[in-house]
């Protein structure tokens, strides 16, 4: 009989009430992803000049894309995965603690999604950061926009509270002496979700009151947004590495060779590094003190420490076990991983895309370059490596595992799905490569039409066409994923299970095996960062705006 993992066994034995809640949350996540992908394709095609919907419809599509993906897909998925991991790895027979709070949270998040879509479709599209000065004066659409974000924040707070109750209650019942690693990480993640909900209230409540006509326009909106935005960078990454940790164990049977306590400390470093690394978001503020700029630059270097550490723990643990099973050569062991499993191939490409996105992000958070690149297409060029290539691929990998276990139905065509990360990454390479080049060349970030009646360099339009083509490839891959997952969610055909390829290395006797892949990967990451930074400085020095910038500095 095949050895199952705690994730699969736990999901299969969840109480009926939890099953319904999780199915609802994952259905909402996929609906948000579908909306985000559709509006994303419309945005990319508009920017490429493939379609011409007009400025209002174009900005509406861009806003709906960003809001659906960045706020709702990523956070419905996190809400569901948090509850899954908190429950399954702590005490699945008792199910979700404070279930009513979790249901209330889900309802609030749904209300938020509806309000946000109403706000986008009926008023001026404010883009996802929704600065009140763009809205000009209070209106029902503006009120709905801010109320949507506040409902989402309240919903996340409730779901996080349920997640914490789920992880802490078994300690009080004496079921565990210590939280299992995944439960502890889920509890820490829930804490950060709560703080982010507070940050959202801090950012949006004054604007919501203004939009409802209850106070004057708020001052200092940008600072509140930056704090929230910083949390919203960290949360999906923390969820991503936790999903890797869980899925790698499910796919290979390998646990961390560094022990439970060390793993807990590593997950806790996310919490320690969140506040001190937040200053770089303020680099565009003209009145920021020079000392704060210096401190922000230095502290920003630490932003990847937790993610890199989790990566090293996972890769070293895998390499040691693979070598104990006969893995040869410097990288030969990598081929022994179960790549025909679509979850494994998604995680593998997520790691590659994180390296690219991470290296590029280090270019952007440098104080001297942030000012020059932040309003160019460099920004969407690099962050899609993270939002699509890393976080979305990882969440989809988790859903490929979780949904079939919840529904009892086999995954649709795993042999097709295993190639979707390749297609997504090919699309990203085109979208991101052309986007980064466009950013270095000065193409503006939020302008739908960049020919400027022929006054702009000819390369700008060509690069945006490549961006559109890359967007089409990513859209195709994500639609295939969505079809497979929605087909699993909706009861079509008879229930059946199919075993996906896995390896079982847990019983391997590990000795003094080499584990050089992780450190070498970090060296490559550092090299990429230096290369991208040097390229940025050289290209920007060559631009004709250098003289104007020099005078103003």
């Amino acid at each position: 009989m095949k050895e199952h993992h705690a994730l699969i066994d736990g999901l299969k034995s969840l109480p009926e009430a939890d099953w319904r809640l999780l199915m609802g949350i994952f259905a909402a996540a996929l609906a948000a992803l579908l909306a985000g992908v559709a509006f994303g394709a419309a945005t990319a095609f508009t920017r490429a000049g493939f379609v011409e919907p007009g400025p209002l419809a174009g900005f509406r599509a861009m806003t709906a894309h960003a809001v659906s993906i960045f706020f709702y897909w990523l956070y419905f998925a996190q809400a569901g995965l948090l509850l899954v991991l908190a429950t399954v790895f702590t005490s699945h027979q008792h199910g979700i603690g404070w279930r009513r709070a979790a249901w209330a949270g889900f309802a609030l998040m749904l209300a938020g999604f509806a309000a946000s879509l109403y706000g986008i479709s009926s008023g001026l599209p404010l883009l996802y950061d929704a600065p009140p000065e763009l809205g000009r004066e209070p209106s029902a659409a503006l009120a709905a926009t801010y109320a949507g974000y506040l409902f989402l924040a309240a919903g996340l707070f409730c779901v996080a509270a349920a997640g914490i109750a789920t992880t802490v209650a078994p300690l009080a019942r004496g079921e565990h002496d210590r939280m299992p690693v995944v439960s502890f990480a889920a509890c820490a993640w829930a804490g950060l979700l709560m703080v982010s909900a507070i940050a959202a209230a801090n950012a949006f409540l004054p604007s919501a009151l203004w939009a409802f006509g209850l106070r004057e326009a708020p001052a200092g909106y940008a600072t509140g947004w930056h704090i929230l935005f910083h949390n919203m960078h960290y949360l999906p990454l923390m969820a991503t590495v936790l999903a890797w940790y869980v899925l790698v164990e499910a796919l290979t049977g390998v646990k961390s060779i560094f022990g439970a306590r060390f793993s807990k400390i590593v997950f806790a470093t996310y919490l320690v590094f969140v506040p001190p690394t937040s200053l770089y978001h303020m680099f565009l503020e003209p009145n920021l003190a020079e000392g704060v700029r210096v401190a922000g630059s230095l502290l920003s270097l630490f932003i990847s420490v937790p993610t890199v550490t989790v990566f090293l723990v996972i890769v070293a643990s895998l390499e040691v076990h693979a070598r104990a099973h006969g893995g040869k050569g410097l990288f030969g062991w990598i081929g022994m991983l179960p790549w025909r499993n679509p979850a494994m191939s998604a995680i593998g490409f997520a790691v590659v895309n994180l390296a690219l996105g991470g290296a590029l992000s280090f270019v952007l958070i440098q104080e001297k370059l942030a000012v020059l690149l932040s309003d160019t297409f460099f920004v969407p060029g690099y962050f899609h490596f993270l939002t699509v290539g890393t976080v979305t691929l990882t969440f989809l990998a988790a859903l490929l595992y979780v949904l079939p276990a919840l529904t009892g139905r086999a995954l649709w065509r795993p042999q097709v799905l295993r190639w979707m990360p390749h297609l997504t990454t090919a699309g990203l390479a085109l979208f991101g490569g052309a986007g980064i080049a466009a950013g270095y060349a000065g193409v503006p970030r939020r302008a739908l039409e960049v020919s400027y009646d022929g006054a702009a360099p000819a390369a700008w339009s060509a690069l945006m066409s490549a961006v559109g083509a890359g967007g089409a490839l990513m859209t195709a891959a994500l639609l295939v994923y969505l079809y497979a997952l929605l087909r699993n969610l909706i009861p079509i055909g008879a229930a059946a299970t199919a075993e996906l390829p896995e390896v079982r290395w847990a019983q391997a006797v590990t000795g003094r095996q080499r584990a050089w892949t992780g450190p070498l990967a970090i060296l490559v990451l550092v090299g990429l960062t230096v290369a991208f930074t040097t390229l940025a400085f050289e290209l920007l020095r060559a631009l004709p705006v250098a003289a104007a910038g020099g005078a103003a500095h």
Binding site: A172, D177, A188, I198
Partner: protein, 69 residues
């Protein structure tokens, strides 16, 4: 102190120091940052307290099984 609670307590301490920095040091004076990190510090203090309380409760139950019921 229980090791899980201790980790949350350390996070609380770091966030509290950062919140104080943003509230009290003129160069870093950013009230918004101080408010959010300050509330965040309270969240992690709450997590540390909850975890410690849960562990003590379980210990109490093991020592006095009848009282725990």
């Amino acid at each position: 102190m229980h090791s899980d609670a201790l980790i949350f307590a350390i996070v609380f301490a770091v966030w509290l120091v950062l919140a104080a920095l943003y509230a009290l040091v003129p160069m870093f004076a950013m009230p918004g940052y101080a408010v959010v990190w300050g509330w965040g510090a309270l969240v992690f203090l709450g997590l540390a307290a909850l975890t410690e309380r849960a562990v003590r409760r379980a210990r109490q139950r093991r020592l006095h099984p009848k009282e725990g019921k």
